[in-house]
Symmetry: C2
Subunit: 273 residues, 2 copies
């Protein structure tokens, strides 16, 4: 559903348009699923397509830019060459830029009341911007450049921006589509986002590049402080499990309808990529 | 007014936030002025601040990314070092990214009916994305990489995206803020955008780097086809003048209220930078 919304919005030709489509392929689609399931709790799953497409487009843009030589300098993503390796850096910068534009256009074009669309656009701008995702990525790069290992609270703050902001936004998409807010779903999204990032650190230590679909062992090679390097593998895993339990508990008021959201929370620490 | 809206939205610290502010300084503010004056025609100039700020933030993002080594590789912009020269490439990529997020947030947060804000967000997404500005920049880079000199109609199509889309969006901001469309202002914006780009080509030949605030003589050095190289200096100037006359004529129904818009059209081919 997310992919269809993205494909329908892309023009047919040109390297940048091709690269945009390529960058949106092959992911787990976790954020899109969170949007659809969060929308389902409000009876709005049928209208979630463009919103789910938007968050996947925005996520894809962030990966394309994060992989650039001047950022994390990665050659492999989702098991395939990164966009700047398959095309070139200019195409990667432009494809990422246009994916971000597309994301806001998709949200704004959703079949929802204008007020709900505005709330989604405003919150997406905050989650994506310097106070959210970009701020987290900037802090990550700054810490690495300064070769300054971070403390646990600093890592948590950084990851809340870098990964957490978009995951929380996805979990809150449903209530926002319905013109509401939800403390439960915010709690759920925050906990899932934190568990997700801790498990990413675990995969970087335990996973194989083939299974994970991107380079592994990078954190240790760079001497980067992570949950695993600071806590150890098992305590990090326990922390991720506790966060998943917390996320599931937050869904208690939602009953059986939220079962897929519970499964998604469990998946976050059971995935191989 | 545009600058105040941007400044109010930025967090206080960090290289990326600093670079975002830096990138928004020192420009002519042509697009912001177009927004304010277009809003004035609909009695909405008092509410134009965030919309004007948005277009300047979006424009600034495009300059920061266009200046990157993998794109136009420029050291000088608005008479000062480009963002990646003053900071580094990662900061430039991230500052541009966050300025784009900010732009959509500013439009979405304007004090206007939700329907008008949605129309502004949707049209901004189109103007900024792969069918607009990014598409134009991609075509520009593709032509240069292929060392394929473009024809006049190809240059016009490219510039309609690269520069024209945001200028036309600015001219149409007023009617959209009022929940309307305007064929006159679209005509005006298209003609101003085309005149602007032709005059940019002229400045690249005639201007000094000191006055223009960025490197000049680049087009000829790169063997790039422009209005000047294809038509000659004087015919290019005549064409720009004809477009300005066309823009001014399109404002005829708007009477005295549109005088500043007429002046802005004249300024486009009288500026030194």
């Amino acid at each position: 559903m997310a992919r269809a919304a993205i494909a329908a919005a892309l023009p047919g030709q040109g390297a940048v348009a091709e690269a945009m489509g390529y960058a949106c392929e092959g992911g787990k689609g976790l954020r899109a699923l969170l949007v659809v399931e969060s929308a389902r709790l409000h009876g709005l799953e049928g209208k979630a397509g463009p919103v789910a497409g938007a968050i996947e487009a925005l996520h894809a843009y962030s990966l394309v830019h994060d992989d650039l030589p001047c950022m994390d300098d990665d050659d492999l993503r989702r098991g395939r060459p990164t966009v700047h390796r398959k095309w070139d850096e200019a195409t990667a910068v432009l494809a990422g830029d246009a994916l971000q534009s597309l994301a806001f256009g998709l949200v704004a074009g959703a079949d929802l009341p204008a007020g709900a669309r505005i709330a989604l656009v405003q919150s997406l701008s905050e989650a994506a911007g310097v106070a959210g995702m970009v701020g987290g990525q900037a802090a990550d790069i700054a810490a690495e450049t300064a070769q300054m290992p971070l403390t646990l609270p600093e890592i948590e703050a950084l990851q809340a921006g870098k990964t957490g902001a978009l995951i929380t936004w996805s979990a809150l998409a449903g209530p926002r589509m319905a013109g509401k807010e939800s403390a439960d779903l915010r709690h759920y999204g925050d906990a899932v986002g934190r568990a997700f990032q801790i498990f990413d650190d675990i995969l970087d230590v335990e996973g194989s590049a083939e299974a994970v679909g991107k380079a592994v062992g990078k954190d240790a090679a760079r001497g980067k402080a992570t949950f695993v390097s600071l806590l150890g593998l098992e305590p990090a895993r326990e922390r991720a499990e506790a966060l998943v339990a917390e996320a599931i508990a937050a869904l208690e008021p939602w009953g059986q309808e939220a079962e897929t959201l519970r499964e998604l929370a469990r998946f976050v620490i059971a995935r191989r990529s």
